[in-house]
C-alpha cells in the first residue's frame, strides 16, 4: 500500500496540499511526523520506548474546515495516497497511526464552537475541539455535556465519535453515539454531506450511526451537534461491598429495571485489592461497587431508597458516600503516569460487552484463558457501563519485569498473542470484539471472526465510498 514516489512528484503533491490548506498548515518536519506516529496504543509506545521509529506519515496536514478537508481528500484520491485522520492521539487501538505513510490529517484546527444552543440543548462544534473545551462552553451557560471519560481533557469530539467512546455517567446519559444530533462528514471523494437534523426518524437507516465508529475508514467527520444537559440539582454517591460478583450482577440488573443511576462501577476482587485500595482507600476483601444517582432532588431521594433496598436484598454492605465521593474526585487520577500502568509494564484493556446471562461467564472464561495461557500475566477487571439488558467488562492484563521481552518484535508477538487469546475467548462466550475503545489496527484481524458474513456489509460500504482504499488503511479490518 505504501505509495512509492520520487522527489519530484512528492514536491508536486506537497505544493497542491499547501495550496489546499496553507503552507503553514502542511508539514514534513520530523517533529510533526514523529508526534503523529505514536498514540496511546501500547505497541506504538513500546516501539518508541525501544528507540525505534513507528511508521510515519509523509505529510501532516491541518485543515481548518470541511472545505479544506474536501480539497485534501480529492488530492489524496487522485494520487491514491493513504489518509489517516488524527484527533488528539489518545486512542488505545492504534487507529490513528499512519501505518501506510501518506497523509496524516490532523483535525485540531477544526476546533471552533459555532453555537451553544440552550433551547435545542446542543453545542455545534468542529470535531477537532478538545472535549473538555466544549464541556467548558456548556458550563459557562450552566449546562454539561455529561460525557466524562478519563480522556476528557486529551481527546477531540471527532476522536470520541470515530471509535464510539463512552464516559463514566453513561448509564444515565448514554454513550457518545447517543449524544450526537447531527454531523457534517466529508466523504472520501471530497463530497461534503450532512446527516439528518433529528437523530430519531423513519427516513431510512441512521446515517450518523454509519459514520460513528467508522474510525476514519469511510470519511472524515468535520462538524457535530453534541447534546448538552441541565446540571443535576443533586449528585449522590454510595459505595458497596459485595462478597462476590454474582450478587452484584443480580442486584444491578434488578436496580436497572427500576431507575438509571449515572455511575455504576463494580471492581473484581483483584482490582478492589489493588487500584481501589490505592486510590480510593477501601481496604476490604470483596468486590467494591460505586453507584451515583443524580437529577432533581426529590427523585434522587426516592432513587437512593430504591438503591439501598435493592442492594440490601443481595447482601451488599453499605459503605456510605465517602468512598464514592473520593472515587468521583479521583476518577481521572487513575490514568496519570505514576497511578496507571505504564511501560516498562506490558498491559492492555480487552473491554467487551454482553447481556447479563453471559457477562459474568465471559469474565471468568477470559480470566481462566489468560491465566492459563500466560501464567506471567496478572488479570484484573471492573464493570463500568451498565444497561437494562447487560453490562461491559473492562478486563486488563498486566505483565511485568523480566517477563516483558526487551526485543521489540518479541514484545509485539507476545502482546498480540495475549490479545488474540483474550478477545477470542470473549467472542466465543457471546461477547463483542470491543465495547468502547474501538478496533483500530489492534483488533482489525478479529473483526471477521466477530461478524462472519456480516462483515461484507461493512466491506460493501467501504468499497462504494472509498474505492481506492485510501481512508485509514488496515483499520477496522477493512
Amino acid at each position: 500500500m505504501q505509495y512509492q514516489m520520487n522527489e519530484f512528484l512528492f514536491a508536486m503533491i506537497l505544493t497542491e496540499l499547501e495550496d489546499a490548506v496553507g503552507k503553514e498548515n502542511c508539514s514534513t518536519r520530523a517533529i510533526d511526523k514523529v508526534t503523529h506516529s505514536v498514540d496511546y496504543y501500547w505497541l506504538s509506545r513500546m516501539w518508541a520506548d525501544r528507540g525505534c521509529r513507528m511508521p510515519e506519515a509523509d505529510i501532516v496536514v491541518c485543515p481548518e474546515n470541511a472545505q479544506e478537508v474536501s480539497k485534501v481528500l480529492k488530492i489524496a484520491n487522485y494520487y491514491k495516497l493513504p489518509v489517516t485522520t488524527w484527533g488528539a492521539g489518545g486512542g488505545t487501538q492504534g487507529g490513528a497511526i499512519p501505518v501506510c505513510g501518506g497523509i496524516i490529517l490532523d483535525t485540531k484546527r477544526m476546533n471552533k464552537i459555532y453555537e451553544v444552543n440552550t433551547e435545542g440543548m446542543y453545542i455545534e462544534c468542529g470535531t477537532g475541539a478538545i472535549y473538555k473545551h466544549i464541556e467548558w462552553a456548556a458550563n459557562e451557560v450552566g449546562k454539561a455535556t455529561m460525557h466524562y471519560p478519563s480522556s476528557l481533557t486529551c481527546s477531540t469530539v471527532g476522536g470520541f465519535l470515530a471509535h464510539r467512546g463512552i464516559g463514566v455517567v453513561s448509564t444515565k446519559y448514554g454513550k457518545i453515539d447517543d449524544m450526537v444530533l447531527k454531523m457534517e462528514v466529508v466523504l472520501p471523494n471530497g463530497d461534503i454531506i450532512e446527516t439528518c437534523s433529528a437523530p430519531k426518524h423513519a427516513a431510512g437507516p441512521d446515517l450518523n450511526q454509519i459514520f460513528i465508529g467508522s474510525e476514519g475508514t469511510l470519511g472524515i467527520i468535520t462538524k457535530a451537534q453534541i447534546r448538552i444537559f441541565d446540571q443535576p440539582e443533586e449528585r449522590r454517591f454510595r459505595g458497596f461491598l459485595f462478597q462476590d460478583m454474582t450478587g452484584a450482577f443480580k442486584a444491578s440488573r434488578e436496580l436497572l429495571q427500576k431507575f438509571k443511576p449515572s455511575v455504576m462501577r463494580l471492581y473484581d476482587e483483584a482490582e478492589t485489592a489493588s487500584l481501589i485500595k490505592k486510590i480510593v482507600g477501601v481496604e476490604r476483601k470483596g468486590a467494591f461497587m460505586n453507584v451515583a444517582y443524580e437529577g432533581v432532588k426529590e427523585m434522587v431521594e426516592v432513587e437512593e431508597k430504591i438503591l439501598l433496598e435493592t442492594f440490601a436484598k443481595y447482601g451488599a454492605e453499605d459503605l456510605g458516600s465517602e468512598y464514592g465521593e473520593k472515587w468521583w474526585k479521583e476518577k481521572i487520577t487513575f490514568f496519570y503516569p505514576g497511578h496507571m500502568m505504564d511501560i516498562p509494564q506490558m498491559f492492555g484493556t480487552m473491554d467487551t460487552i454482553a447481556p447479563y446471562g453471559k457477562i459474568e461467564e465471559i469474565y471468568w472464561a477470559m480470566k481462566a484463558a489468560i491465566e492459563k495461557e500466560f501464567p506471567q500475566a496478572k488479570f484484573i477487571a471492573h464493570f463500568s457501563h451498565w444497561y437494562e439488558w447487560g453490562a461491559m467488562v473492562y478486563d486488563r492484563f498486566i505483565i511485568e519485569g523480566k517477563d516483558v521481552p526487551q526485543d521489540p518484535v518479541e514484545a509485539l508477538r507476545l502482546h498480540q498473542r495475549v490479545w488474540t487469546t483474550g478477545v477470542r475467548t470473549a467472542i466465543a462466550h457471546g461477547g463483542v470484539v470491543n465495547d468502547h475503545h474501538g478496533v483500530g489496527i489492534k483488533l482489525g484481524r478479529l473483526m471477521k471472526e466477530q461478524y462472519g458474513p456480516a462483515m461484507q456489509v461493512f466491506e460493501g460500504i467501504k468499497k462504494q465510498l472509498d474505492p481506492n482504499g485510501i481512508m485509514n488503511p488496515f483499520k477496522l479490518g477493512l
Binding site: 510533526d32 514523529v34 518508541a48 488528539a88 486529551c154
Partner: protein, 360 residues
C-alpha cells in the same frame, strides 16, 4: 544528549501521557499536536534514545511558553517545564540552538536585552531621569517595559508618583537575567547576568519589580541558584495593594465590570493571586473568567513574538474569548507582556493595564 536522571524520569513519564492536552495555550492556539507536553517529551525521549537528532526538535522546544499550566494540571507532579528548560540548556551547551534563538541570546549577553535595542524612548528617559536620585526603594522596570513598552513603564512610574512614593529608577538598569533564564536556563551567562543585577540592587532596601517575569526570577531562581540578593523584593501588584490599603492611593470605584488576567508568574510561580484583585476591586467590579488564579491561561508575551508573532496573536485572541464568555467589556492586566499581546488583538473587549485602571 546529556540529561539529568530527574529530567529523564519526567520525560519518560510525560511522553505517553495526554492528560494536560487541553490546557496548553500554545497548543490550543495552533491546533498543532507538537505543541503539547507529551509531544515535547516524546521528542526528547527519542533524542535520548538516538532515534532523532536534537536539532530536529529544537524549534518545538522553543514553542513552549514555560507557563506551567501543564505542571499545575498534573496530579502526579511531572514537570514538562523542567525538562524543556534542561533541553534548552543542553542545546546551548552543544551549540545546537536554532539560529533565531542564538541571535536573541547574543543580544542578551551583549546588549542586555534580547531585542538588541540600545536607545530608550525619550518620554521614558525623561521620567527615569526625574527619579535618578538614590532612595531606599528602586522601581525595577525590566527590559520588556523599557525597550518594547515604554508607555507602560511611564505609567508604572506615574502610579508611584500619584501615591507620593519616594523612589529611584536606574538610568542604566541591569538585566535581571529573566530573558536568558527563559532562553537557555541555568547557563553560566545567565547566572553571571543575575549576579551583576543583584550587586546593583543590593544597594537598595526594597526592590519593587514591575514585570512579573523579572519578579519570578528575582524571587525564585536567584534563591535556587544562590545569587546573593539581600534587598527585599516586592512585586509591583503586591506593592500597589499595600498603597491602596494604606490610603496612599485613594481609590474610587468606577462600577465598571472587569476581569483580571492573572500573570502565570505571579499566580503559579509566586502564589500571588489576591493582591492584584484587591487593587482591581478598589477601582472596578471584578468578575472572574474561565481559568483564573492558579489555573490562569497565559495570554502571550513580547519575547516569543520575536519568532512566532502570529501564534502570539492567536494565544491572545483565545484569552479574549474567555473574557467574552463572561460578557466582560474590559480585561485588566498586570504583566507588560500580556498587556502588549492582548492590546494587539483588542476589539470589542477593552484591554487596560492595572496602572491605567489606577490612573483613570
Amino acid at each position: 544528549m546529556i540529561m539529568s536522571e530527574k529530567g529523564k524520569q519526567h520525560v519518560d513519564s510525560c511522553r505517553f501521557c495526554w492528560m494536560c492536552h487541553h490546557i496548553c495555550p500554545v497548543g490550543n492556539a495552533t491546533g498543532q499536536e507538537r505543541n503539547t507536553a507529551r509531544a515535547r517529551a516524546l521528542g526528547i525521549s527519542l533524542v535520548n534514545r538516538e532515534a532523532i537528532e536534537l536539532s530536529e526538535i529544537m524549534d518545538n522546544i522553543f514553542e513552549c511558553a514555560c507557563c506551567g499550566a501543564c505542571v499545575k494540571e498534573c496530579v502526579t507532579g511531572w514537570d514538562p517545564v523542567m525538562f524543556t528548560k534542561e533541553t534548552r540548556l543542553q542545546a546551548a551547551m552543544e551549540g545546537k540552538l536554532p539560529e533565531y534563538i542564538n541571535v536573541l541570546v547574543d543580544n542578551c549577553i551583549e546588549k542586555g536585552n534580547a531585542y538588541g535595542i540600545t536607545e530608550i524612548d525619550a518620554a521614558l528617559k525623561e521620567k527615569i531621569a526625574a527619579h535618578k536620585e538614590k532612595t531606599d526603594l528602586v522601581l525595577f522596570l525590566g527590559v520588556d517595559a523599557i525597550y518594547k513598552a515604554p508607555a507602560s513603564a511611564v505609567n508604572a512610574i506615574k502610579v508611584l508618583e500619584k501615591a507620593g512614593v519616594s523612589f529611584t529608577v536606574l538610568e542604566k538598569e541591569p538585566a535581571s537575567g529573566a530573558q536568558l533564564e527563559y532562553l537557555i536556563s541555568a547557563a553560566n551567562e545567565t547566572k553571571e547576568q543575575m549576579a551583576a543585577c543583584a550587586k546593583e540592587l543590593n544597594g537598595f532596601k526594597t526592590v519593587v519589580v514591575y514585570d512579573p517575569q523579572d519578579a519570578k526570577v528575582l524571587k525564585r531562581e536567584y534563591k535556587e541558584w544562590d545569587i546573593a540578593l539581600t534587598a527585599e523584593v516586592k512585586t509591583f501588584t503586591a506593592y500597589l495593594a499595600d498603597l491602596v490599603k494604606s490610603g496612599a492611593l485613594k481609590a474610587e470605584n468606577s462600577g465598571k465590570k472587569v476581569v483580571f488576567q492573572d500573570p502565570f508568574q505571579l499566580a503559579r510561580d509566586l502564589s500571588e493571586t489576591e493582591e492584584a484583585r484587591e487593587v482591581v476591586k478598589a477601582y472596578a467590579v471584578l468578575d472572574e473568567m474561565l481559568c483564573n488564579k492558579k489555573d490562569t491561561m497565559w495570554a502571550g508575551n513580547i519575547l516569543m513574538a520575536e519568532w512566532m508573532p502570529e501564534v502570539m496573536n492567536r494565544v491572545a485572541e483565545d484569552r479574549m474569548n474567555n473574557a467574552r464568555g463572561v460578557n466582560a467589556d474590559t480585561i485588566v492586566t498586570a504583566s507588560v507582556s500580556e498587556y502588549t499581546a492582548l492590546k494587539a488583538v483588542e476589539k470589542d473587549v477593552k484591554v487596560i493595564s492595572i496602572e491605567e485602571l489606577i490612573l483613570g
